[in-house]
């Protein structure tokens, strides 16, 4: 087997192992779906009337909201990558892997890939939930598929950040919070829930350049979901080239964190 074939074969085996782990613990899926469904309901019905603006139509807001919630949900799944690695380290499984003649990179690729399998399942549940509260895909089927792929690519990129965090955290307890904390500024200082033009000063600039905003805007656009009438439209290069910017930043994140995580994996010691 060539070295590259061994990387893919090993990654496949590791992906299988991680997916089996989720299948044996269906309650994990419950956690991964119930939480975002609560978010949908809270934003749609609790904040929706207020955020929708004076005279704003809550139905329009819900349509706007869904792409943001989808992207946020799969982004949060990177915390599973963090916890997964922290667990494997604690249980000595990483030591076992490191003592095997297998690809180092595959252990991480297998984990980040498996986490996207989880994301797909979650997206199916979320989409059903969206349809129930009145969200519709307005564009073509192809665009809709591209929309889903857009947020999955971005989530995949974040998963590599999660892998790095999981490998540097000293314990599972720390991993639990370290995996989540950075998610809040990342996903809230963005166009996921509010018009990005409404954010004040520096926050507005951060939101404009936040790759997460780009991923959400691109997906929203591909779904054919418009902002509620009368909302200020975002401007600037990232907003006008949302898909391109989202893809470029995803690739950049992987290019930075894949070598970092792999280098860390080579040296990491089990607790």
């Amino acid at each position: 087997m060539t070295a590259l074939a061994k990387v893919f074969s090993d990654s496949g085996v590791i992906t299988w192992r991680n997916v089996m782990n989720v299948r044996r613990n269906p309650e994990w899926l419950l956690g991964a779906t119930v939480f975002p469904i609560m978010f949908v309901l809270m934003f749609a019905y609790v904040f929706g009337g207020a955020i929708g603006g004076p005279g704003g139509d809550s139905v329009e807001y819900r349509e706007f909201l869904i792409a943001g919630i989808f992207a946020q949900t799969v982004a949060f799944n990177s915390s599973y990558t963090v916890i997964g690695f922290a667990n494997d380290l604690q249980k000595g499984i990483i030591d076992r892997f490191r003592s095997l003649p297998m690809s180092r990179f595959a252990v991480i690729l297998g984990r980040t890939t498996a986490d996207q399998v989880l994301s797909v399942v979650v997206l199916v549940v979320m989409s059903t939930c969206g349809l129930l509260i009145g969200w519709r895909i307005r564009g073509s089927a192809l665009d809709a598929v591209l929309g889903y792929l857009m947020i999955l690519l971005f989530a995949f990129a974040l998963s590599w950040v999660g892998a790095y965090i999981g490998l540097i955290t000293p314990s599972v307890e720390v991993a639990n919070s370290a995996g989540l904390i950075w998610m809040f500024p990342l996903t809230f200082v963005s166009s996921a829930f509010v018009p990005q033009e409404s954010l004040p000063g520096v926050l507005g600039t951060i939101a404009d350049w936040n790759p997460f905003t780009a991923a959400v805007n691109a997906t929203r656009d591909l779904f054919g979901n418009a902002s509620p009438a009368g909302w200020p439209l975002p401007s600037g290069w990232p907003a006008e080239n949302a898909a391109l910017y989202a893809i470029l930043s995803s690739v950049a994140i992987i290019a930075i964190f894949a070598p970092l995580a792999t280098a860390r994996y080579r040296r990491v010691a089990s607790k």
């Binding site: 074969s9 089996m20 249980k91 499984i93 030591d95 076992r96 003592s99 297998m102 010691a269």
Partner: protein, 323 residues
């Protein structure tokens, strides 16, 4: 490996490793002839696990060199990984996978094709008496079953060198004896084994030779028998029926023994070191009988490795060394 090295499966020279300012390993040398079991013995924090981690490529030494199955751990770590099986201190079992899936996973990662991986996994499950539990998640396994599964994982690729890091720590006595039987079977197949343990009884039973380390340094090496001989011969121990006969017994034992007898009036126990083994025992009993001293209990003890350890380090095997 050059021809003169043919018979050596594991060789380490001058291994040094620091953790911060702590010198975890301070120049450890060891050698294991092919097909033999080396017991690496020492208290917690002595440097056993650090040595194992270096030899299994999990950790780089600060200095020193090591070769395992002909592969240098520094320049050819993948060669080492292909030749070894590691069973760690904590059973590295994925508890959400079944016993079969755990072994299949490892077999696939060693590069075995699916049918071969399946066959090998089933074989090992049967050999380690896990075939009945094979298709249940490992979550429900007992501590002993997990250790056996972990050891089976180390043997998937039929490695020429097997490294067992404290394989019985934390097991109950039954689990420990089962594990020993499994390790003895493994040795019978001709594998070279590096076994770390805190239990002297374990090294005594399983190891051909022993290296004792303490605070990162080798403080003794040899066969278990050689080590025991280092602290002299056997200990003759008698219990007499009446307390007033203790002084008499002390006098007799002083004559047949090789040292100063020790006596305890309350338990009526008298003991002395002897060089001549059973001869001394028979002689002592004959003389006491002639003096009409009734002996309730008589025994000849070979020194245990615990005695060896105590005399080498000045502290027992259970003392915690700050890490």
């Amino acid at each position: 490996m050059s021809d003169t090295d043919k018979g050596v499966a594991v060789r380490a020279r001058g291994l040094v490793k620091h953790y911060g300012t702590t010198r975890a390993l301070d120049g450890v040398d060891l050698e294991i002839p092919t097909g033999q079991v080396l017991g690496l013995l020492g208290p917690n924090g002595a440097g056993k696990t650090t040595t194992v981690r270096i030899l299994t490529t999990l950790l780089l030494p600060d200095s020193g060199e090591a070769e395992v199955a002909g592969h240098d751990v520094l320049t050819d770590p993948d060669g080492v990984r292909r030749s070894i099986g590691l069973s760690g201190q904590y059973a590295a079992v994925d508890e959400n996978l079944t016993g079969f899936e755990n072994l299949y996973l490892v077999a696939r990662l060693y590069g075995q094709r699916k049918p071969q991986a399946r066959k090998r996994s089933r074989e090992l499950l049967a050999r380690f008496r896990l075939d009945e539990a094979a298709d249940r998640p490992a979550k429900g396994y007992s501590g002993g079953m997990r250790r056996r599964l972990d050891l089976a994982g180390a043997l998937v690729a039929e490695p020429s060198v097997v490294v067992l890091d404290e394989p019985t720590t934390g097991l109950d006595p039954r689990g420990r004896i089962e594990m020993w039987e499994v390790i003895e079977q493994l040795v019978a197949t001709g594998a070279t084994v590096l076994l770390t343990t805190q239990y002297l009884e374990e090294a005594d039973r399983l190891a051909d030779s022993v290296v004792v380390i303490d605070r990162g340094k080798v403080i003794a090496r040899g066969t278990p028998d050689e080590l025991k001989n280092q602290i002299g011969g056997e200990r003759l121990e008698l219990v007499v029926a009446a307390a007033e006969e203790v002084p008499l017994a002390v006098r007799v034992l002083a004559e047949v023994g090789s040292g100063e007898p020790a006596a305890d009036e309350r338990s009526r126990r008298v003991e002395v070191l002897v060089d001549t083994g059973t001869k001394a025992l028979v002689e002592a009993l004959r003389r006491l009988d002639a003096l009409d001293v009734v002996v309730q209990d008589a025994a000849l003890h070979r020194p245990t490795l615990d005695d060896v350890f105590l005399s080498l380090t000045g502290h027992g095997t259970t003392e915690e060394v700050p890490s």
